[in-house]
């Protein structure tokens, strides 16, 4: 029986690694026992009590081993087996990722902001889409590196948003977000974005789909976009104070490519809206679309206030020297024979059922519908008393924002995966009180690659089922996209119309068409 040892000075492995190596070596032929310990004096005593103390080996050492040294000892049947066992131990330790003195020359994968910057020192914008818990950290690092930030992540605490935006302003940078869905910067789309020509209309928006609707309607008129700067949906809240909308406004005010500025948001905090309007008194025309807050018209001064996204697009096109009649707005309402469609409804069919993926589009539709048909129940209600109760799917006229948190937790956004919406479509179609179904389909980057293909079979089926039950079931689509989008607007429209859907590019027109089926007499 022989005892051989291996001493690794100032070498540290975690205990799982050492135990695994010791067990593997113990299983080798001829090996009787193995010890792998830090060479503390009491562990040397332990080795002695285990008949593993390598007395001769230790005597050869000029400096006795100490607590910071790793001692591996093998007791084996003969010299060769002991040597082989130690060689195997060292090899296994090395293969587990020994951190030797030499540095690795292999290039590191680019999986961090810092490494990306090393690869491209000219970059000046970071797009961040990580779990909300960590997003502020990445955003802060990007800002400290002098980068503008497009922060796609949601669930960032509002205190962090306030802090990050203050840091951005201090450093003269944009912090687009958090929960920023859309931007077009120097012609490059970020997040959910559409392919639009470059032009003279600049947009600053606290609403992703609101910006997309504006961009698409402007593009349809033949005009183009200089910049589209997202701010994140909470920017115009009392807590955040419109910090980034003011920054974006200032940037566009000084941008020679921008001749007309459009500001868009869901209903902002009163004080913030007033401050934004005060900042919007520029030499350049500014169009303000703060949905549901036409009352600001009286204090808008030089700014032009529009009630709807379509109205905002028409105003901006006109102010930029374009032809506002080329915007496919409410003028397209009667391209279908709505009266004839309405005549086919059964007497039980009384209610609009709207299934939206875009929150702002849903808001806009509810504003218009409520003016024309009365109360609209919703998961994002315009009034508290119109809120759907827990477990309630539809109640009278109903508009659902299926892109809101309660529907997207643990599943893709309906702009990416329509599966959930198709379930709601089937439910709405089965209800004999449903008069018309209203949906939005948003095209562009990040959206479903072919939403018509996903929706057409379902639309055809629900219409056929309703027909078999003696009902006509109109399906109206608010189609937001451009001809340049990967899905191609015209192809999507054609496929949807072939399935019997009524397709409008203006959400206002789509909502008005839906209202026409059930308008109060």
């Amino acid at each position: 029986m022989v005892i051989h040892a291996l001493l690794k000075r100032n070498t540290y492995y975690d205990s799982i690694a050492l135990m695994s190596v010791a067990q593997a070596v113990k299983d080798l032929p001829g090996v009787v026992d193995v010890g792998a310990v830090m060479a503390t004096s009491i562990n040397c005593e332990l080795l002695q009590n285990s008949d593993l103390l390598p007395v001769a080996f230790l005597a050869e050492q000029q400096t006795p081993p100490g607590p910071e040294d790793l001692l591996i000892v093998v007791r084996a049947s003969d010299e060769a087996q002991a040597q082989a066992a130690l060689a195997a131990a060292e090899q296994r330790l090395t293969s587990r990722g020994d951190r030797g003195a030499t540095d690795s020359a292999a290039p590191l994968p680019v999986r961090s902001l810092e490494l990306a910057l090393q690869h491209n020192k000219a970059a000046n914008l970071a797009l961040i889409s990580v779990a909300g818990e960590h997003a502020w950290l990445e955003a802060e690092q990007a800002l400290r590196h002098g980068l503008h930030v497009f922060l796609f992540s949601d669930n960032v605490p509002i205190e962090q948003e306030q802090r990050l935006k203050a840091l951005a302003v201090k450093n003269g940078l944009l912090l687009m977000g958090p929960d920023c869905g859309t931007a077009i910067i120097n012609g490059v789309g970020l997040g959910f974005s559409n392919v639009a020509p470059r032009g003279s209309i600049g947009i600053v928006g606290a609403s992703g789909t609101g910006m997309q609707q504006l961009i698409c309607l402007i593009a349809a008129s033949g005009m183009g976009i200089s910049q589209a700067i997202g701010t994140g949906g909470r920017d115009l809240s009392e807590a955040v104070g419109g910090v980034m909308m003011r920054s974006g406004l200032a940037l566009l005010a000084n941008d020679p490519q921008t001749e007309v500025i459009v500001l868009v948001s869901k209903p902002p905090a009163e004080r913030v809206a007033r401050e934004i309007l005060a900042a919007a008194q520029l030499a350049k025309p500014v169009v303000v679309v703060f949905l549901g807050t036409e009352r600001f018209a009286t204090i808008a001064g030089k700014a032009h206030v529009a009630r709807t996204l379509t109205g905002g697009a028409e105003l901006a096109v006109s102010l930029a020297g374009g032809d506002r009649t080329r915007v496919p707005g409410e003028g397209t309402l009667h391209k279908y024979n709505l009266a004839a469609e309405r005549a086919k409804l059964a007497s039980s069919q009384r209610y609009i059922r709207a299934l939206y993926s875009g929150g702002t589009l849903c808001d806009e539709a509810m504003l218009l519908l409520s003016e024309q048909v009365g109360a609209v129940a919703s998961n994002i209600p315009l009034r508290p008393e119109w809120a759907l109760a827990a477990g309630e799917t539809f109640r009278g006229h109903t508009a659902l924002d299926l892109g809101s948190d309660e529907f997207t937790r643990g599943r893709p956004h309906p702009m990416i995966d329509p599966a959930l919406r198709l379930q709601y479509l089937a439910r709405a179609a089965q209800d004999p009180e449903t008069a018309v179904i209203l949906m939005d389909i948003v095209l562009g980057f990040c959206a479903h690659p072919n939403p018509a293909a996903a929706h057409v079979p379902a639309i055809s089926q629900v219409r056929a089922t309703a027909a078999a039950a003696g009902r006509s079931l109109p399906v109206i689509i608010s189609l937001c996209g451009t001809e340049g989008d990967p899905q191609r607007l015209s192809m999507q429209r054609k496929a949807l119309e072939a399935a019997g859907a009524l397709v409008y590019e203006s959400n206002v027109a789509a909502a008005s068409a839906a209202a026409s089926f059930v308008e109060r007499s």
């Binding site: 975690d14 503390t40 009491i42 009590n49 607590p67 003195a101």
Partner: protein, 308 residues
Amino acid sequence: MTVSLLALDYSRPIQPLFAQASRAGSIHSAFHHAVNITLDDTMLSLLSSELPRMPNSARLPPVVAEELLHGLRPGMQVWIGSASLRIPARDFSLHLPQTPPWEPRPGIADYRWSRKTVIHHIRLLAHHLAAQPQRGGLAPLIGPLLLGQPAPETPLSRMALPALRMLALASWRRDSAGVAEATRGLAGLGPGLTPSGDDALAGFAAVMTLLSPYLSADAAPRDDIAATIARVARPRTTALSAVLLAHAAQGEVAEHLGNLLLALALPAEASEAVLHAANHVLSFGANSGGDTLLGMLLALRALEGEID
């Protein structure tokens, strides 16, 4: 270009290292999810946030930790101070966030403590530890120490068992010389970068510092025992162990151990929550979790009086 990162979080005891003038240290050891850095007589750990917070740690998001730790080697120079940690060989600097630090001393005083309830939990946890698959270390000694079971016949248990018994007895009797002798028999003993004996001593010391004022049957605090353990162990074990023992003596413990200590204040019927917290401790390292739990349970038992 120097890459500048912000830590995700950091423990309160490392804050002064960043506040003082910059001083040179070096990387002591590097693992896949952790790097230990020596600075004078202390040690700081950079961890991936996949690992629990330690009393001497700053943590990084997993992706950042993976990129950074990949390139670090023992012996590399590190500068700590003037609000940053810099590793020139990697062109890297780390800053602490402006958020408040994590406090590694659990808020024991915020809870109501009942000796009767804690005794119930000790028994539950002792049986739970005894039922764990044993891979080595000192955890198997819970049987002979607290459950009246026979001792395993291994060289490690033959050395450790008398020392653990002496530690418990001397602590109850507030016999500093006995505590020192027992510590000499345990410090640096067993496998691991933090040897098993040290992990048991750390669990023991933390209980003496944090809970002896609330749970001692004779109502006498015993935080001096923890200080003796840390002082005697220091020259006899690894640098990392010595630093963690010093923290334990101050009542500063790893996140999972602190959570378990606080769980002991839960009512007897909350056994599931207590076992859940214990399992987090047991999942740490190959033997470290079990060794720490053994030391913790032995200390809690020692506060009740002499062990038969």
